[in-house]
Symmetry: C2
Subunit: 323 residues, 2 copies
Amino acid sequence: MTDLVIGVDIGGTKTKLGLVDSKGECFEKTTFRTREYPDLEDFLDKIKDTADKMVKGFGRPVNLLGCGVGAPNASSKMGTIENASNLLWKGSVPLVKKLGERMDMPIQVMNDANAAALGEMLFGGAKGMTDFMVLTLGTGFGAGIVANGQLIDGFDGFAGELGHVDMTMGDGRLTGLGVRGGLEAYVSATGLKRTVTQLQSKYMMESRFRDIPYNNLHGEDITRAAEEGDPIALKAFDYTAKIMAQAMANFTAFTQPEAFILMGGLVNSGKWILDPLKQYFESFLLEVYRGKVKILLSTTEEKTAAISGAAAQIWVKDNKILA
Amino acid sequence: MTDLVIGVDIGGTKTKLGLVDSKGECFEKTTFRTREYPDLEDFLDKIKDTADKMVKGFGRPVNLLGCGVGAPNASSKMGTIENASNLLWKGSVPLVKKLGERMDMPIQVMNDANAAALGEMLFGGAKGMTDFMVLTLGTGFGAGIVANGQLIDGFDGFAGELGHVDMTMGDGRLTGLGVRGGLEAYVSATGLKRTVTQLQSKYMMESRFRDIPYNNLHGEDITRAAEEGDPIALKAFDYTAKIMAQAMANFTAFTQPEAFILMGGLVNSGKWILDPLKQYFESFLLEVYRGKVKILLSTTEEKTAAISGAAAQIWVKDNKILA
């Protein structure tokens, strides 16, 4: 019998499932489109069916230890998803309870960025670290915080919503949740697009972006433009890196992490974002922190990291791997 | 035999000592001026002598469990005070080691705001809470963060330097440590004075402050002026409360505390700071946090809270009181 955990990552676009072993390796990875299941009951049936098929597909006898789910706006303490803006099921979704009616095993749910942090701690680059933060820089900005060797959950499970801290004393861009000056309006794949657009109005210099409408703008285009020396692209990366560095210097004053581990679309821009980020970051740090905080890229396999992270909730016991 | 702990609070102006029991009650409180001992060795001798006298003065036989010290810029993990800007001893001060050469008992040192948080958890208004933050609003801005029932120390003991988070994307007042736009340049007794001064330049309205130089300005004067309806004083409290509320909304997105516990000089201004603070705070919170985060005033006795908090380091064992 092989001990395995079902890992489920519920995203606005795709839901990913896999069977995860004690090393974080992911088997039988399956994906379906979340929005094809606007009825929650149908969605949960689909999870159950997919899990059954994965176990059959594995080929060898499986001992299922449980099912760990990562989702936006999830509360580990309540076992729910609450008012997720990019999911179709509104209000409070009692995920653990409803999934438990279908699957006879321990079930846990957690904010997706928190699950990513747990995954890094158990299976990835944060092994052995007691104080670190994972930042997920995709469509939005997510954060998972580990301090004293434990994931920080918060009073009722909503800690780490760092995309919505105001960096501007109420005088900046709005986030999707209506926070004025909120971090993710600047530091995310979407934030970078907004900056490229803003800079076209601020400056008169030539740029390839002047022929591309906002809705056709993709992160890869901005990276390619930077490689070609496009001045708007270069300025946009510098601006984004500077705000990100300031935010990370602020976060350091909070829990003093040993490292930040970065993942998500914005990180794929490589040196264009990372080089200025590292420079600004050291210069913004309080002296007592300088030279002590690492900036690392996630080494967990990108395609399965979210699934392994979700499964980590079940694999972890007293902050150690069960096996 | 009475079990007691020596509590020591080292401040820029005064050093306070007392004997603290398992309920946080403080006996034999003694105070001396820190700056009378520019030589560290003399200072430590004075601590040792004072402690001996307190034990004699207590009258009954004492079983000393240890000595807990709170100090600015202290690292619990290193047992040192590092480059404290308002103390005379420069560089890295190996306090635990040097005090240990004089006193044969367990000795621990901790950042003063962290010690205050520990004191609130063991002896004060945070009893039974697992997620809360203490904010000390005096000359500077200090913070002690408790999450998952544990004090957040940071990678090498310097977590919680929240007076130096930038609220302005690098476009604001400088803190004493040179952080542009740093929180304590706005939200502290000193910050309030700076705001009163700024507002006199911004507006032309009559104000009693136009006859008082900056160096003669005290928090009590600003409170009294607000009571008399002075428009600059009222605007200054509103401005300070608004930035403080924004900062606290940001902090909530970090660890999602159940409560903020406030102490220090600025809090003595009462409703003038607290009423606008509470209003702004709720309006700035992300929806998922609204109505869930309490703002409380410290109930520990102000004169001995710092001593009891310092002693709490020795009294706590596995996050519970030893006794």
